[in-house]
């Protein structure tokens, strides 16, 4: 077991020092770089906070959508990794297997929306707030 402060906690305090103590010392033309660093640290901290749970859920939903067997905690019964399944989903969407006239059209849209919302929670939570989806 790791001791505190964890990686996530270190990122958060480091980001606070950057924003509150270092940024005011920077010339104007370097402020944008500092904001980018702060943004990168925030994304990393949020990804650590969410951990593996979103990907497990994604894998489970994806297997369901594609008719693959899964066991209880979302681990694949077979050997297909989430990347392989996503590749298959992508190819099937391109081929028209999820067009509006198909039975799984709505389920595919819902799945894609869920995955996208989770990515936004990590990459850009303000976008979700602006869309009223936070």
């Amino acid at each position: 077991m790791r001791d505190h402060p964890t990686g996530e906690e270190l990122l958060i305090i480091a980001r606070t020092v950057l924003r509150e103590e270092l940024m005011p010392l920077l010339p104007d033309e370097r402020r944008y770089d500092a904001l980018m660093v702060a943004n990168a640290m925030a994304i990393a901290a949020r990804q650590i906070a969410f951990g593996d749970a979103p990907e497990r859920r994604e894998r489970q939903s994806l297997a369901g959508l594609l008719g693959e067997p899964v066991d209880g905690d979302g681990a694949m019964a077979g050997s297909a990794a989430v990347g392989d399944l996503t590749r298959r989903l992508s190819a099937e969407i391109r081929g028209g297997a999820f067009d509006p006239s198909t039975p799984r059209h709505g389920a595919a849209h819902s799945f894609l929306l869920d995955v996208t919302v989770q990515k936004l929670r990590e990459s850009a939570p303000k976008t979700l707030e602006a869309a009223g989806m936070a």
């Binding site: 994304i43 969407i93 509006p100 595919a108 849209h109 990459s123």
Partner: protein, 340 residues
């Protein structure tokens, strides 16, 4: 890229020869921010003799170490600037093209520097512009109409391929081609592309599309438009392609209620464009191209992120560009909802 003393001297020599001058003395040369795909250098020089004698205020535009597949090279962009200038479009005057790699290590051209600023996120927050936004929107629509007076075949633009079988389907095919070359699959973008394929408009009249006509790519000085920049994505397409790109939500820099580029009213832009071009704008077709705009920007953002991830060109700015993609994907899913 930094320019050492020898490169600086070679650049002075090139300008002197190209300008038919007795000499050229560079007084200022610094890299400008922005330009993820090329490098732009701000250049001041004193030119002795010849038609350009006097002070030269210019921008030197070179290729970057790695480029986005779809982007034109500097020689092609130079040809476009000349064609656009001849058609009456407000652009920085293209001066000299250097195809000799021994000068700066890559091709570049020199254009006159225009006054003002282009930064999109600052422009949409500019109070002065907020008051005169409608006039600027009209002016931009007139500029776009002028760009669209250039139609194929055009002298000097033979390097631009014809979009087959139609501009829309050509774009879908190109974007799929780029997605296939990325390391990871992108099902939301596939969803959007399938929608674009199923809803593609029929082929209409072809015009010169600027290809990156949006807030952030034109210069404004004291509320006055001074130049349309960044022609490297130009090609033949439907007139609604540029209009959709200009109005797409992803290019409003957060000023979402001002649908014309984050600076004004969409209908003002349409009306001014129709008046200037004597062509009609179909709002439904613009909406279609707005979906395309989100797809295209997402693919470019992924390519930029790939340049970082691959180790070709590690840079924080490009790494973070990959993280704008989920926001674009959300918009795509909302625009191409269930049943459409």
């Amino acid at each position: 890229m930094e320019l050492d003393r020898a490169a600086r001297e070679r650049l002075q020599g090139f300008i002197a020869r190209a300008a038919g001058a007795e000499g050229c003395a560079i007084t200022e040369l610094r890299r400008l921010r922005g330009g993820a795909i090329q490098e732009n250098w701000c250049l001041d020089a004193d030119i002795a003799g010849g038609a350009f004698a006097g002070r030269l205020e210019a921008v030197v535009r070179t290729d970057a170490p790695s480029k986005i597949d779809e982007s034109l090279n500097r020689a092609e962009e130079f040809a476009l600037l000349k064609t656009a200038l001849a058609a009456g479009v407000t652009v920085p005057e293209p001066l000299w093209l250097c195809r000799d790699p021994s000068v700066l290590g890559k091709e570049f051209f020199v254009m006159r520097r225009v006054a003002g600023a282009a930064a999109g996120h600052r422009m949409v927050k500019d109070e002065r512009l907020r008051d005169s936004g409608e006039a600027l929107v009209e002016r931009l629509a007139e500029e776009l109409a002028r760009i669209h007076t250039i139609t194929p075949p055009a002298d000097g633009l033979g390097f631009l391929a014809m979009p087959e079988p139609s501009p829309a389907l050509h774009s879908v095919n190109r974007l799929r081609h780029h997605l296939d070359r990325l390391a990871t699959p992108h099902p939301v973008l596939e969803w959007g592309l399938r929608w674009l394929e199923r809803n593609a408009p029929t082929r209409g009249e072809l015009v010169l599309r600027h290809g990156d006509f949006r807030t952030g790519n034109y210069m404004v000085d004291e509320n006055r438009l001074t130049g349309i920049l960044d022609w490297e994505f130009a090609g033949w397409s439907d007139l609604h392609d540029d209009i959709g790109w200009f109005c797409a939500k992803c290019w409003r820099f957060g000023a979402d209620d001002r649908e014309a580029g984050g600076i004004g009213v969409r209908e003002t832009f349409y009306r001014a464009y129709e008046r200037a071009s004597e062509r009609s704008v179909d709002p439904g077709t613009v909406s279609y191209w707005e979906v395309m705009a989100h797809l295209r920007w997402a693919v470019i953002a992924l390519q930029q992120a790939q340049r970082h991830v691959s180790g070709d060109e590690p840079a924080l700015e490009m790494a973070l560009t990959g993280h704008v993609v989920p926001g674009l994907e959300l918009e795509i899913l909302q625009l191409t909802g269930k049943g459409t």
